[in-house]
Amino acid sequence: MSSVHTTTAASAASARSVKQAGGGGLVMRGRLPEMWVGLGLVLAPFVLPAIGMSPDLLTRILILGLFGLGFDLLFGYTGLLSFGQAAFFGTGGFVTAYLLTDGVVGNMLLALAIGTVVAAVTGLLIGYLTLRRTGIYFAMSTLAFGEMFFFMENSVFKEYTGGENGIAGVPSPEIALGFIHIKVSSGWPMYWFVALVFFVGYLIARRIVRSPFGAVLKAIQGNPKRAMALGHAIQSYKLMVFVVAAAYGGLAGGLLGLFQSYMPPDAFSLDTSAQLVIQTVMGGAGTLLGPLLGATIWLYLYDGLQQIGSLGPYWKLILGVVFVVLVTVFRRGVAGALIQFWQRTRTLPAHIDADASSKVASVLDIVPPLATTRPGAPVLEARGVSKHYGGLKANSDIDFTLREGELHGVIGPNGAGKSTFFAMLAGELPTTTGKVFFRGQEITGIGVTSVCQLGMSKSYQINQLFEHLTVRQNMMIPVLARLRGRYRSDLLRSLHSDHLDSQVNAAIALVDLSHHADTQVSEMSYGEKRRLEIGLALATGANVLLFDEPLAGLGPEERVLVVALLKSIRQGRSMVIVEHDMDAMFELAERITVLYEGRKLTEGTPDEIRRDPSVQAAYLGGMDDESA
């Protein structure tokens, strides 16, 4: 026990010293993008006209960039590829334009706000329908709904939208805030107005990305099932980011109408949705500025190719080829490639989280049990649990009790039904008959997220990690769920706090990965990943832990380490372990349940099990001689 503490203390200390050395500089680095973008926006009107970019072109790029900020949150950060964002661009744009042209609302800012809100509500509706599926289905249904809006513009809502003609005569913007009254004329003043809106949008998007909400989004992109199992209600997060993306789209659409003094029906077209996707991918998804860069490339290329007479009509073909090449070769787009190049030429590791505190809590939090319990009281119970699949009886009538503070093993030959039983015990799988109780509360099939929030967590046989995030970023996910519950809309809050970070550092130290805290998981060895796998379950604060073959795939030395780890974490926790490594099992378990052919064969102390002839027979096949 003491040796484990020494190593963790030492590694925590070394991690701290790295921080202090880079300290101040790294914190500033966290704010760098906002400064650069602000500077860029201010300098652009003085620099870019020299290469032929007019104020109108720049304004158009910014509008598309704003549209893309929301889309990048959806696709680049959460991994949801939507082909129907035009629905929200058009909705926001037409609502704003209609309100202003029909005189329903005089204040431009108010009209923009209303347009944005209506777009967001539309996003809520469409998101609810489409997020019921994932991946390809999701992309397809967003595409279809996007098209639906295009058709509705020219039919159901024709009166308001002007059908094929769109809405002309949108008044020039006037910023009226009581004490200020500014008329925004076309040309540079329009640029400044849109640039300001874009900048504010960018600041908000940056906040979101660096908030707890944003951290969960990245987890959903990496491994949605694990994010759910670690206590997050991922559907709610997905819906929220979808609404946010819709809001950005609506705002951008409103600006388009004001900019052109005209709201075109093709704002709703598939072309618009597709353009957004292409620009984001070309520029680089997951960078927030990718869409802006992509829009610049797209519009500049379009303008440029028009100048070269013969190539003019082929600009889209050229763009298509560039796009296919980028998707095939440079998955991360232009911005992504640039960032990768930038990181490789610098000596600092790429992923140091500048804002993370280096404090280490002395004890990792454990969710306290709701009622006071005494040692030996039942903590996890299965009563008469069975699972039938048609005619197949995977489990029949199993009773199982885990007591407070116990380490209970489950063994059985192949086909015994261990995995099915384990899944039911973890609340993942509903039973056919029978119930599962956690501290007296029924949890039969309530689902992994709820179970985790109650204080029980599972570690998987096959590593379920967030491969593209660092160890620290991985460890944050379960801690965030414990501190914030299954869902919280904390989009603007800062991710790091002493409490969060000290807990995360404690969890990392517990599984002896402090020296790898800022290493990307995909670069670690299998044994280190396995320790992280266990660490994630621990970091949920669970007081009951289920381990599914924790030693799977480990070499002999690593097995020794993990067995020692499992022993060292017993304080305050009750554990169930399924394992095939008999030596390890007998070393660890206080009590063992033996399953055979879907039923409980027997249960007892390791010694009792070893001496039980029926267990030997089950493993060696003697039972088959008895009549069925």
Binding site: P413, N414, E597, R611, Y619, L620
Partner: protein, 234 residues
């Protein structure tokens, strides 16, 4: 030259190292049993032989020719046939269609009549879809698919798992007949008694390593080996 020679293979599921320097040989007309607790690596060995699991180092030779780079269909063409643990019978097509599919690329397939003679139960159910069959019938179909291909080597992965004793007895009889007719078989089976009654030789696998090689007689004489690696240590 052995029919199949496995030399120090290391197999992986993703980056999880499952088999460590595993070596074994299979002679023609032999029945070889692979024993060990589950999780030991027996199934992984079978899948490595069939090309369904990545072998990162070491070699597998079939009649002296290296095959570890061949995809599954290439190995099937050489006469190696896996009957997988999960059976993997095609549920959406009929028994007959399952057999026809299996026979499609076989050099000298057995006839349907021959198969139906061995498995009358399957003849009765020939028009039923795979998913309508019971566990025992699915296992029969899985074995029948290998038989219709007239495979050189049949790899049986846990053929008796989860089946009622009467069906196990019938399947054992089929296997015994195949063995008597000279079929080379590698069998993974947790039912040690059944496996040893069929086998000429046995390997024991533990935690991804081969820890023992011998005949059933050797094992019966050294009972503690069975308990140590297959049962629950006394």
């Amino acid at each position: 030259m052995s029919l199949l020679e496995v030399d120090k293979i290391n197999s992986y599921y993703g980056d999880s190292h499952i088999l460590f320097d595993v070596s074994m040989r299979i002679e023609e007309h032999e029945v070889v049993a692979l024993l060990g607790r589950n999780g030991a690596g027996k199934s992984t060995t079978m899948k490595s032989l069939m090309g369904m699991v990545e072998v990162k180092s070491g070699s597998i030779r079939h009649r002296g020719v290296e095959i570890q780079h061949l995809p599954p269909y290439g190995r099937a063409a050489l006469g190696i046939q896996l009957v997988p643990e999960e059976r993997r019978v095609f549920g959406s097509i009929s028994v007959q269609e399952n057999l026809q599919l299996a026979a499609m690329t076989a050099a000298r397939p057995r006839s349907l009549d021959e198969i139906y003679a061995t498995f009358p139960r399957l003849a009765e159910r020939k028009r039923n879809r795979g998913k309508q069959l019971s566990g025992g019938e699915q296992q029969m179909l899985a074995i029948a698919r290998a038989m219709i291909r007239n495979a050189d080597i049949i790899l049986l992965d846990e053929p008796f798992e989860g089946l009622a004793p009467l069906i196990v007895r019938d399947l054992m009889a089929v296997c015994r007949q195949l063995a008597d007719d000279g079929q080379t078989i590698v069998i993974v089976e947790q039912n040690v008694r059944a496996a040893l009654s069929l086998a000429d030789r046995a390997y024991i696998v533990n935690n991804g390593h081969v820890v023992y090689e011998g005949t059933p007689k050797d094992l019966h004489e050294n009972g503690e080996i069975i308990e140590r690696y297959l049962g629950v240590k006394a």
